[in-house]
Amino acid sequence: MQACRRGRVGTTTTGAGWHSGLGRALAFALLLLGLADGAAAATTPAGTVIQASAEVSFVIGSTPLSVRSNAPALSVDQLIDVAVVATLATVPVRAAETARSLAFRVVNTGNAPETVHLQLATAVAGNAFDAIARTPSIFLDTDSSNTLTPADVAYAPGSNDPVLAPGASAVVLAVVDVPSGVANGAHGRVEFDARVTAGVGAPGTVFGATGPNGVDAITGLSGGVAHATSDLLVSGVDVALLKSATVTATDGSSIAEPGSRIDYDIAVQVTGAGLVHGLVVSDPIPASTRYVPASVQIDGIAQSDAVAFQPAAGQIQVSFGDVPAGAIHHVRFSVLIN
């Protein structure tokens, strides 16, 4: 028996942000990248005093003695450093989309609390289109959702500049509109800047006695200002699923009877231009059948049941992440007829 049907066949794709008609899917579920916080937390805080002294023990005649040296003190200067990372380097968007939020993580890589000034630039040379900054164009991601929600607070330069402890980070959102009339596959970059208010200058620039406990503040490799870009990719993407089944009975025939095995093949085809983001394909185990353990494969590569089989939900599920237009993948799994 060979069953072959075009379309969903009880199979679902998720993670594809929104769908328009005819199965046209533009996908941009934000995968939280989970950048580690506090990576630089072990950095010695500015203003710390480091002291070292030696102890000498010795014997004169038969008398044990010991003396201690002086303890020269070193005060730790303030290191001014900052980093910005785009949560997504490439963001699928559609033409004329409004209020698209782009997440950036700002990290204080220095060793003293820093106030950070934020700036968005949409006019970046060398790409097909310029995104249009909204007013206001920057929000503080108060609820850490990586996307714009009503809880998020508009950024007002100079009045609510983020203050970051050493090693701490904050997610901020740039909010832009995409111009109408941009072609699928076109790129438009936006640049996000974070500038430390304590001082900006070439690496090694000294700001005398401005740090905690009166220590000097000195710019690190960032020079006190960091940039990150996010690439908007106009995407019009179709995700087509084509599912087929092959039945094999215990006697080698193709009769569907208790004990027969059904091998399913789902062809996942992405067409159009651009990128589908966070593509997830799931398919329920049919009634009156049971899943054959460890039978899920993606493009012929076996997948762990811990990841790909969800017994409670009674389905298989595989995640493809970002899939460019033009890609075809095959998901295979097997069941036995009860």
Binding site: A42, T43, T44, T48, I50, Q51, A52, S53, A54, E55, V56, S57, F58, V59, I60, G61, L65, S66, V67, R68, S69, N70, A71, P72, A73, L74, S75, V76, D77, L79, N111, V215, D216, I218
Partner: protein, 160 residues
Amino acid sequence: MKKSIALLTLLLASATALAAQSGSILVKTVAEQEQVTTGADGARKTTLAPASKVLPGKEVVYTVTFENVGHDAANDVVVTNPVPEHTSYVPGSAFGPGTDLLFSADGGRSFASAAALEIHGADGSVRAAGPEDYTHIRFVLKNSLTPGAVAFARYRTIVK
């Protein structure tokens, strides 16, 4: 060279004042940082300059000078240096002429050579200690320190 003579003179001057109350050895720790300067001829020179300020990631060179200012030989001379808080030992940097080098990774309770030093976990596990584990650096003088003799030891730490 001039500088070291000046330092020695300074040591000798203060030695007489302190000798009576601090046994017969005078010990001094100096903290310095490397400075790279480029001369008029374009040659780069690395010199040690006294340090009072540091930045995370920078190395500090500690030099411990100990001198027998008494009238009798000092035996079993052991110089112990805690690795200061907020710093870690720079691997391979400890150096002391005529000394054996030992390290501690347990706050100075036990010492062993770098190759033999182990970390005993609370769960009974044992692993070799690395430079980042060192809490103390110890120099053990092989010979006695005769009256008037001066010895030194040096190590580096990096500010976290």
